[in-house]
Symmetry: C2
Subunit: 223 residues, 2 copies
Protein backbone atom coordinates (compact mmCIF):
# COMPACT_ATOMS: atom_id res chain seq x y z
CA UNK A 1 0.00 0.00 0.00
CA UNK A 2 1.24 3.45 -0.94
CA UNK A 3 -0.33 6.05 1.40
CA UNK A 4 0.63 8.91 -0.94
CA UNK A 5 -2.05 7.66 -3.38
CA UNK A 6 -4.58 9.18 -0.99
CA UNK A 7 -3.16 12.60 -1.90
CA UNK A 8 -5.09 12.23 -5.17
CA UNK A 9 -8.39 12.83 -3.40
CA UNK A 10 -9.41 16.46 -3.96
CA UNK A 11 -10.35 18.89 -1.20
CA UNK A 12 -10.96 22.54 -0.50
CA UNK A 13 -9.48 24.62 2.32
CA UNK A 14 -11.95 25.65 5.01
CA UNK A 15 -12.18 27.29 8.40
CA UNK A 16 -14.58 25.30 10.56
CA UNK A 17 -15.75 27.53 13.40
CA UNK A 18 -17.96 27.34 16.47
CA UNK A 19 -18.38 28.97 19.87
CA UNK A 20 -16.58 28.40 23.18
CA UNK A 21 -19.25 29.99 25.38
CA UNK A 22 -19.38 33.53 24.01
CA UNK A 23 -15.90 33.31 22.46
CA UNK A 24 -15.66 32.46 18.73
CA UNK A 25 -13.08 29.83 17.78
CA UNK A 26 -12.27 27.51 14.90
CA UNK A 27 -9.70 25.47 13.01
CA UNK A 28 -8.46 24.96 9.45
CA UNK A 29 -9.91 21.87 7.77
CA UNK A 30 -9.89 20.25 4.35
CA UNK A 31 -12.41 17.49 4.92
CA UNK A 32 -15.90 18.75 4.17
CA UNK A 33 -18.41 17.36 1.72
CA UNK A 34 -22.08 17.68 0.91
CA UNK A 35 -24.03 14.53 1.79
CA UNK A 36 -27.65 15.18 0.81
CA UNK A 37 -29.21 17.89 -1.33
CA UNK A 38 -32.69 18.08 0.22
CA UNK A 39 -32.39 18.98 3.02
CA UNK A 40 -28.84 20.18 2.36
CA UNK A 41 -26.42 18.46 4.73
CA UNK A 42 -22.64 18.59 5.04
CA UNK A 43 -20.20 16.21 6.73
CA UNK A 44 -16.95 17.47 8.25
CA UNK A 45 -14.15 15.52 9.92
CA UNK A 46 -12.48 17.08 12.98
CA UNK A 47 -9.66 15.61 15.09
CA UNK A 48 -10.48 14.89 18.73
CA UNK A 49 -7.45 16.99 19.71
CA UNK A 50 -8.83 20.08 17.98
CA UNK A 51 -10.48 22.36 20.53
CA UNK A 52 -13.14 23.09 17.88
CA UNK A 53 -14.30 19.48 18.18
CA UNK A 54 -15.49 19.90 21.77
CA UNK A 55 -17.00 23.32 20.98
CA UNK A 56 -19.11 21.77 18.17
CA UNK A 57 -20.03 18.97 20.54
CA UNK A 58 -21.27 21.46 23.14
CA UNK A 59 -23.05 23.96 20.89
CA UNK A 60 -24.37 21.47 18.33
CA UNK A 61 -23.51 24.00 15.62
CA UNK A 62 -20.68 24.87 13.29
CA UNK A 63 -19.90 27.14 10.36
CA UNK A 64 -17.76 26.36 7.31
CA UNK A 65 -15.99 29.32 5.68
CA UNK A 66 -14.73 28.39 2.20
CA UNK A 67 -11.35 30.04 1.62
CA UNK A 68 -10.68 31.34 -1.90
CA UNK A 69 -7.46 31.53 -3.91
CA UNK A 70 -7.33 35.21 -2.91
CA UNK A 71 -7.92 34.64 0.82
CA UNK A 72 -4.99 35.77 2.96
CA UNK A 73 -2.92 32.59 3.59
CA UNK A 74 -2.27 33.85 7.14
CA UNK A 75 -5.82 32.72 7.90
CA UNK A 76 -4.72 29.13 7.31
CA UNK A 77 -1.84 29.54 9.75
CA UNK A 78 -3.91 31.38 12.35
CA UNK A 79 -6.54 28.64 12.40
CA UNK A 80 -4.34 25.67 11.53
CA UNK A 81 -1.15 25.77 13.54
CA UNK A 82 -2.16 26.94 17.00
CA UNK A 83 -4.87 25.93 19.44
CA UNK A 84 -8.07 27.79 20.29
CA UNK A 85 -7.45 26.70 23.88
CA UNK A 86 -4.62 29.26 24.14
CA UNK A 87 -5.35 31.82 21.45
CA UNK A 88 -8.36 33.92 20.48
CA UNK A 89 -7.91 33.15 16.79
CA UNK A 90 -10.70 35.47 15.67
CA UNK A 91 -8.94 38.46 17.28
CA UNK A 92 -6.75 38.80 14.20
CA UNK A 93 -9.23 37.73 11.50
CA UNK A 94 -12.24 39.76 10.32
CA UNK A 95 -15.52 37.91 10.73
CA UNK A 96 -19.25 38.39 10.75
CA UNK A 97 -22.12 36.66 12.51
CA UNK A 98 -24.41 34.26 10.66
CA UNK A 99 -26.99 32.32 12.66
CA UNK A 100 -24.97 33.12 15.82
CA UNK A 101 -21.84 31.52 14.36
CA UNK A 102 -18.61 33.35 13.35
CA UNK A 103 -17.86 33.32 9.62
CA UNK A 104 -14.55 34.46 8.08
CA UNK A 105 -15.14 37.51 5.85
CA UNK A 106 -12.17 36.88 3.56
CA UNK A 107 -13.76 33.73 2.07
CA UNK A 108 -15.80 32.98 -1.05
CA UNK A 109 -18.76 31.30 0.69
CA UNK A 110 -20.05 30.09 4.04
CA UNK A 111 -22.48 27.54 5.42
CA UNK A 112 -23.83 27.43 8.98
CA UNK A 113 -24.96 23.99 10.15
CA UNK A 114 -26.82 22.34 12.99
CA UNK A 115 -25.35 18.94 13.98
CA UNK A 116 -27.93 16.20 13.30
CA UNK A 117 -25.70 13.12 13.60
CA UNK A 118 -22.09 12.08 14.14
CA UNK A 119 -19.80 9.09 13.67
CA UNK A 120 -16.74 8.48 15.82
CA UNK A 121 -13.38 7.08 14.74
CA UNK A 122 -10.22 6.54 16.82
CA UNK A 123 -8.95 10.04 16.13
CA UNK A 124 -11.66 12.06 14.34
CA UNK A 125 -15.36 12.81 14.65
CA UNK A 126 -17.45 13.04 11.49
CA UNK A 127 -20.17 15.60 12.21
CA UNK A 128 -23.20 15.61 9.94
CA UNK A 129 -24.74 19.10 9.80
CA UNK A 130 -27.97 20.33 8.31
CA UNK A 131 -27.39 23.65 6.56
CA UNK A 132 -29.32 26.48 8.27
CA UNK A 133 -27.86 29.26 6.16
CA UNK A 134 -25.42 29.52 3.25
CA UNK A 135 -24.37 32.22 0.84
CA UNK A 136 -21.59 33.52 -1.37
CA UNK A 137 -19.12 36.13 -0.08
CA UNK A 138 -16.25 37.10 -2.42
CA UNK A 139 -16.44 36.33 -6.14
CA UNK A 140 -13.23 34.32 -6.19
CA UNK A 141 -12.45 30.73 -7.03
CA UNK A 142 -12.39 28.41 -4.02
CA UNK A 143 -8.90 27.45 -2.89
CA UNK A 144 -8.30 23.75 -3.45
CA UNK A 145 -6.01 21.78 -1.20
CA UNK A 146 -3.83 21.10 -4.27
CA UNK A 147 -3.50 24.87 -4.77
CA UNK A 148 -2.51 25.27 -1.11
CA UNK A 149 0.23 22.67 -1.55
CA UNK A 150 1.48 23.74 -4.97
CA UNK A 151 1.12 27.50 -4.97
CA UNK A 152 1.27 28.40 -1.29
CA UNK A 153 3.55 25.42 -0.56
CA UNK A 154 1.91 24.62 2.77
CA UNK A 155 1.70 21.21 4.37
CA UNK A 156 -0.72 19.40 6.70
CA UNK A 157 -0.68 19.83 10.47
CA UNK A 158 -0.40 16.61 12.50
CA UNK A 159 -4.12 16.60 13.35
CA UNK A 160 -5.19 16.56 9.68
CA UNK A 161 -6.64 13.37 8.18
CA UNK A 162 -4.21 13.79 5.29
CA UNK A 163 -1.10 14.06 7.46
CA UNK A 164 1.73 11.73 6.46
CA UNK A 165 5.06 11.81 8.37
CA UNK A 166 8.07 13.00 6.37
CA UNK A 167 9.81 9.64 6.92
CA UNK A 168 7.09 7.83 4.97
CA UNK A 169 7.07 10.44 2.21
CA UNK A 170 10.83 9.99 1.86
CA UNK A 171 10.55 6.19 1.89
CA UNK A 172 7.89 6.34 -0.83
CA UNK A 173 10.25 8.42 -2.94
CA UNK A 174 7.72 11.25 -3.00
CA UNK A 175 10.53 13.69 -2.43
CA UNK A 176 13.18 12.20 -4.65
CA UNK A 177 11.75 13.69 -7.84
CA UNK A 178 12.15 17.22 -6.57
CA UNK A 179 15.13 19.40 -7.32
CA UNK A 180 18.17 18.77 -5.14
CA UNK A 181 18.28 22.20 -3.62
CA UNK A 182 18.56 23.91 -0.28
CA UNK A 183 15.23 25.01 1.12
CA UNK A 184 14.21 26.98 4.18
CA UNK A 185 11.15 25.48 5.75
CA UNK A 186 9.05 26.93 8.57
CA UNK A 187 9.44 24.51 11.48
CA UNK A 188 5.91 25.31 12.68
CA UNK A 189 3.67 25.13 9.64
CA UNK A 190 5.92 23.68 6.93
CA UNK A 191 5.76 26.70 4.64
CA UNK A 192 8.65 26.55 2.16
CA UNK A 193 10.25 29.96 1.57
CA UNK A 194 10.44 30.70 -2.15
CA UNK A 195 10.95 34.45 -2.36
CA UNK A 196 13.46 36.06 -4.72
CA UNK A 197 15.63 37.41 -1.91
CA UNK A 198 17.97 34.68 -0.60
CA UNK A 199 16.64 33.52 2.77
CA UNK A 200 19.87 34.51 4.57
CA UNK A 201 19.42 38.09 3.38
CA UNK A 202 15.88 38.49 4.67
CA UNK A 203 15.45 41.11 7.44
CA UNK A 204 15.45 39.85 11.03
CA UNK A 205 11.79 40.76 11.47
CA UNK A 206 10.76 38.48 8.58
CA UNK A 207 7.79 36.36 9.59
CA UNK A 208 6.35 33.19 8.09
CA UNK A 209 3.53 34.40 5.81
CA UNK A 210 1.39 31.43 6.84
CA UNK A 211 1.74 31.15 10.62
CA UNK A 212 3.48 34.45 11.47
CA UNK A 213 6.31 32.73 13.37
CA UNK A 214 9.73 34.49 13.32
CA UNK A 215 12.61 33.81 10.93
CA UNK A 216 14.36 31.85 13.68
CA UNK A 217 11.93 28.91 13.48
CA UNK A 218 12.90 28.26 9.83
CA UNK A 219 14.99 25.15 9.23
CA UNK A 220 17.48 24.67 6.41
CA UNK A 221 16.72 21.49 4.49
CA UNK A 222 18.60 19.84 1.67
CA UNK A 223 16.63 17.60 -0.61
Amino acid sequence: MNPTALFKLSYGVYVVSSMDGDRPTGCTANSAMQITSSPATIAISINHNNFTNQCIEKTGKFAVSVLSEKSNPQIIGTFGFQSGREVNKFDSVAYEWKEDMPVVKDACAYMVCKVINKMETDTHTIFLGEVLDADHLEKEEPMTYAYYHKVIKGKSPKNAPTYIPDEILEKEGKKSGEEKTVKYVCGICGYVYDGETPFEELPDDFKCPICKQPKSVFVKKES
Copy 2:
Protein backbone atom coordinates in the same frame (compact mmCIF):
# COMPACT_ATOMS: atom_id res chain seq x y z
CA MET B 1 -30.20 30.58 2.13
CA ASN B 2 -28.56 30.29 -1.26
CA PRO B 3 -28.00 26.58 -2.07
CA THR B 4 -25.54 27.45 -4.88
CA ALA B 5 -23.05 28.53 -2.18
CA LEU B 6 -22.51 24.81 -1.55
CA PHE B 7 -20.99 24.60 -5.05
CA LYS B 8 -17.91 26.23 -3.51
CA LEU B 9 -16.98 23.02 -1.70
CA SER B 10 -14.27 21.25 -3.71
CA TYR B 11 -14.43 17.63 -4.82
CA GLY B 12 -12.76 15.13 -7.09
CA VAL B 13 -14.45 12.81 -9.58
CA TYR B 14 -14.41 9.13 -8.64
CA VAL B 15 -15.76 5.75 -9.64
CA VAL B 16 -16.88 3.91 -6.51
CA SER B 17 -17.06 0.21 -7.32
CA SER B 18 -17.99 -3.06 -5.64
CA MET B 19 -19.26 -6.53 -6.50
CA ASP B 20 -22.77 -7.81 -7.24
CA GLY B 21 -21.99 -11.48 -6.59
CA ASP B 22 -19.25 -12.18 -9.13
CA ARG B 23 -20.23 -9.23 -11.34
CA PRO B 24 -18.27 -5.97 -10.93
CA THR B 25 -20.34 -2.78 -10.77
CA GLY B 26 -20.00 0.83 -9.64
CA CYS B 27 -21.13 4.42 -9.90
CA THR B 28 -19.66 7.88 -10.41
CA ALA B 29 -19.26 9.84 -7.18
CA ASN B 30 -17.76 13.13 -6.05
CA SER B 31 -18.10 12.75 -2.30
CA ALA B 32 -15.05 11.01 -0.88
CA MET B 33 -12.69 12.23 1.80
CA GLN B 34 -9.98 10.89 4.04
CA ILE B 35 -11.04 10.75 7.69
CA THR B 36 -8.06 9.39 9.63
CA SER B 37 -4.43 8.94 8.67
CA SER B 38 -3.46 6.01 10.90
CA PRO B 39 -5.07 3.69 10.07
CA ALA B 40 -5.99 5.35 6.77
CA THR B 41 -9.77 5.58 6.45
CA ILE B 42 -11.99 7.14 3.79
CA ALA B 43 -15.65 8.20 3.93
CA ILE B 44 -17.84 8.08 0.84
CA SER B 45 -21.47 9.13 0.40
CA ILE B 46 -23.70 6.98 -1.83
CA ASN B 47 -27.40 7.49 -2.60
CA HIS B 48 -29.75 4.73 -1.47
CA ASN B 49 -31.06 4.51 -5.06
CA ASN B 50 -27.60 3.67 -6.42
CA PHE B 51 -27.30 -0.07 -6.95
CA THR B 52 -23.69 0.25 -5.75
CA ASN B 53 -25.03 1.14 -2.28
CA GLN B 54 -26.58 -2.29 -1.75
CA CYS B 55 -23.54 -4.04 -3.24
CA ILE B 56 -21.24 -2.28 -0.73
CA GLU B 57 -23.71 -3.18 2.01
CA LYS B 58 -23.56 -6.88 1.04
CA THR B 59 -19.84 -7.24 0.35
CA GLY B 60 -18.60 -4.83 3.05
CA LYS B 61 -16.00 -3.61 0.56
CA PHE B 62 -15.57 -0.90 -2.04
CA ALA B 63 -12.91 0.60 -4.27
CA VAL B 64 -12.41 4.26 -5.19
CA SER B 65 -10.83 4.95 -8.60
CA VAL B 66 -9.64 8.56 -8.83
CA LEU B 67 -10.30 9.88 -12.34
CA SER B 68 -7.66 12.19 -13.80
CA GLU B 69 -7.97 15.16 -16.14
CA LYS B 70 -6.91 12.78 -18.91
CA SER B 71 -9.38 10.01 -18.05
CA ASN B 72 -11.89 9.35 -20.84
CA PRO B 73 -15.00 11.35 -19.89
CA GLN B 74 -17.15 8.48 -21.20
CA ILE B 75 -16.26 6.70 -17.95
CA ILE B 76 -18.24 9.37 -16.05
CA GLY B 77 -21.27 8.77 -18.26
CA THR B 78 -20.97 4.99 -18.18
CA PHE B 79 -20.90 4.94 -14.39
CA GLY B 80 -22.98 8.04 -13.70
CA PHE B 81 -26.04 8.08 -15.89
CA GLN B 82 -27.26 4.49 -16.01
CA SER B 83 -27.91 1.82 -13.40
CA GLY B 84 -25.79 -1.22 -12.60
CA ARG B 85 -29.10 -3.07 -12.15
CA GLU B 86 -29.59 -3.08 -15.94
CA VAL B 87 -26.11 -2.64 -17.39
CA ASN B 88 -22.76 -4.36 -16.92
CA LYS B 89 -20.90 -1.07 -16.71
CA PHE B 90 -17.47 -2.68 -16.56
CA ASP B 91 -18.06 -4.40 -19.94
CA SER B 92 -17.00 -1.20 -21.71
CA VAL B 93 -14.36 0.07 -19.28
CA ALA B 94 -10.90 -1.48 -18.78
CA TYR B 95 -10.29 -2.54 -15.18
CA GLU B 96 -8.00 -4.61 -13.01
CA TRP B 97 -8.46 -6.50 -9.76
CA LYS B 98 -7.12 -5.15 -6.47
CA GLU B 99 -8.00 -6.99 -3.26
CA ASP B 100 -10.85 -8.69 -5.18
CA MET B 101 -12.39 -5.35 -6.14
CA PRO B 102 -12.59 -3.88 -9.68
CA VAL B 103 -10.49 -0.74 -10.23
CA VAL B 104 -10.72 1.49 -13.32
CA LYS B 105 -7.40 1.43 -15.22
CA ASP B 106 -7.79 4.87 -16.79
CA ALA B 107 -7.46 6.64 -13.43
CA CYS B 108 -4.60 8.30 -11.53
CA ALA B 109 -4.96 6.35 -8.27
CA TYR B 110 -7.11 3.81 -6.46
CA MET B 111 -7.96 2.78 -2.91
CA VAL B 112 -9.66 -0.46 -1.85
CA CYS B 113 -11.52 -0.26 1.46
CA LYS B 114 -13.23 -2.51 3.98
CA VAL B 115 -16.36 -0.95 5.52
CA ILE B 116 -15.84 -0.44 9.26
CA ASN B 117 -18.77 1.86 10.04
CA LYS B 118 -21.62 3.72 8.40
CA MET B 119 -24.05 6.58 9.03
CA GLU B 120 -27.48 6.78 7.44
CA THR B 121 -29.29 9.88 6.20
CA ASP B 122 -32.70 10.14 4.51
CA THR B 123 -31.22 9.65 1.04
CA HIS B 124 -27.54 8.70 1.35
CA THR B 125 -25.32 6.31 3.30
CA ILE B 126 -21.92 7.51 4.50
CA PHE B 127 -19.66 4.45 4.45
CA LEU B 128 -16.45 4.63 6.46
CA GLY B 129 -13.81 2.37 4.92
CA GLU B 130 -10.40 1.31 6.17
CA VAL B 131 -7.92 1.35 3.30
CA LEU B 132 -6.63 -2.18 2.54
CA ASP B 133 -4.65 -1.19 -0.53
CA ALA B 134 -3.89 2.03 -2.41
CA ASP B 135 -1.53 3.06 -5.16
CA HIS B 136 -0.94 5.44 -8.03
CA LEU B 137 -1.88 4.49 -11.60
CA GLU B 138 -1.41 7.17 -14.29
CA LYS B 139 0.85 10.17 -13.66
CA GLU B 140 -1.88 12.72 -14.34
CA GLU B 141 -3.52 15.40 -12.23
CA PRO B 142 -6.72 14.28 -10.51
CA MET B 143 -9.89 15.61 -12.14
CA THR B 144 -11.64 18.04 -9.84
CA TYR B 145 -15.40 18.41 -9.88
CA ALA B 146 -14.85 22.06 -10.90
CA TYR B 147 -12.84 20.85 -13.92
CA TYR B 148 -15.66 18.45 -14.83
CA HIS B 149 -18.16 21.33 -14.76
CA LYS B 150 -16.00 23.96 -16.45
CA VAL B 151 -13.96 22.03 -18.98
CA ILE B 152 -16.08 18.97 -19.68
CA LYS B 153 -19.28 20.93 -19.02
CA GLY B 154 -21.03 18.05 -17.29
CA LYS B 155 -23.69 18.33 -14.61
CA SER B 156 -24.79 16.26 -11.60
CA PRO B 157 -27.14 13.29 -11.88
CA LYS B 158 -30.24 13.43 -9.67
CA ASN B 159 -28.78 11.00 -7.11
CA ALA B 160 -25.74 13.21 -6.43
CA PRO B 161 -25.49 15.08 -3.11
CA THR B 162 -24.66 18.20 -5.12
CA TYR B 163 -27.72 18.00 -7.40
CA ILE B 164 -29.74 21.22 -7.62
CA PRO B 165 -32.82 21.38 -9.90
CA ASP B 166 -32.54 23.76 -12.88
CA GLU B 167 -35.52 25.78 -11.58
CA ILE B 168 -33.59 26.75 -8.43
CA LEU B 169 -30.44 27.54 -10.41
CA GLU B 170 -32.48 29.85 -12.65
CA LYS B 171 -34.21 31.46 -9.67
CA GLU B 172 -30.84 32.12 -8.04
CA GLY B 173 -29.70 33.84 -11.21
CA LYS B 174 -26.89 31.33 -11.56
CA LYS B 175 -27.62 31.12 -15.25
CA SER B 176 -28.36 34.74 -16.01
CA GLY B 177 -24.70 35.75 -16.21
CA GLU B 178 -23.99 33.37 -19.03
CA GLU B 179 -24.00 34.38 -22.68
CA LYS B 180 -27.42 34.54 -24.30
CA THR B 181 -26.79 31.85 -26.87
CA VAL B 182 -28.36 28.73 -28.23
CA LYS B 183 -26.95 25.55 -26.75
CA TYR B 184 -27.48 21.89 -27.45
CA VAL B 185 -27.64 19.93 -24.23
CA CYS B 186 -27.70 16.15 -23.82
CA GLY B 187 -31.08 15.35 -22.28
CA ILE B 188 -29.60 12.38 -20.44
CA CYS B 189 -26.39 13.60 -18.81
CA GLY B 190 -26.51 17.37 -19.33
CA TYR B 191 -23.36 17.56 -21.46
CA VAL B 192 -23.33 20.86 -23.36
CA TYR B 193 -22.10 20.47 -26.95
CA ASP B 194 -19.33 22.95 -27.68
CA GLY B 195 -17.59 21.60 -30.76
CA GLU B 196 -16.56 23.81 -33.67
CA THR B 197 -18.97 22.15 -36.12
CA PRO B 198 -22.48 23.62 -35.70
CA PHE B 199 -24.63 21.03 -33.92
CA GLU B 200 -27.11 20.81 -36.82
CA GLU B 201 -24.27 19.79 -39.15
CA LEU B 202 -23.02 16.92 -36.99
CA PRO B 203 -23.36 13.46 -38.57
CA ASP B 204 -26.43 11.41 -37.60
CA ASP B 205 -24.29 8.88 -35.75
CA PHE B 206 -22.91 11.56 -33.42
CA LYS B 207 -23.04 10.37 -29.84
CA CYS B 208 -22.81 12.26 -26.56
CA PRO B 209 -19.12 11.98 -25.54
CA ILE B 210 -20.14 11.58 -21.89
CA CYS B 211 -23.03 9.10 -21.86
CA LYS B 212 -22.91 7.78 -25.46
CA GLN B 213 -26.60 8.57 -26.13
CA PRO B 214 -27.54 9.45 -29.75
CA LYS B 215 -27.82 12.94 -31.26
CA SER B 216 -31.62 12.69 -30.99
CA VAL B 217 -31.62 13.04 -27.20
CA PHE B 218 -29.99 16.49 -27.41
CA VAL B 219 -32.27 19.40 -26.57
CA LYS B 220 -31.94 22.93 -27.97
CA LYS B 221 -31.79 25.47 -25.14
CA GLU B 222 -31.72 29.23 -25.30
CA SER B 223 -30.23 31.02 -22.33
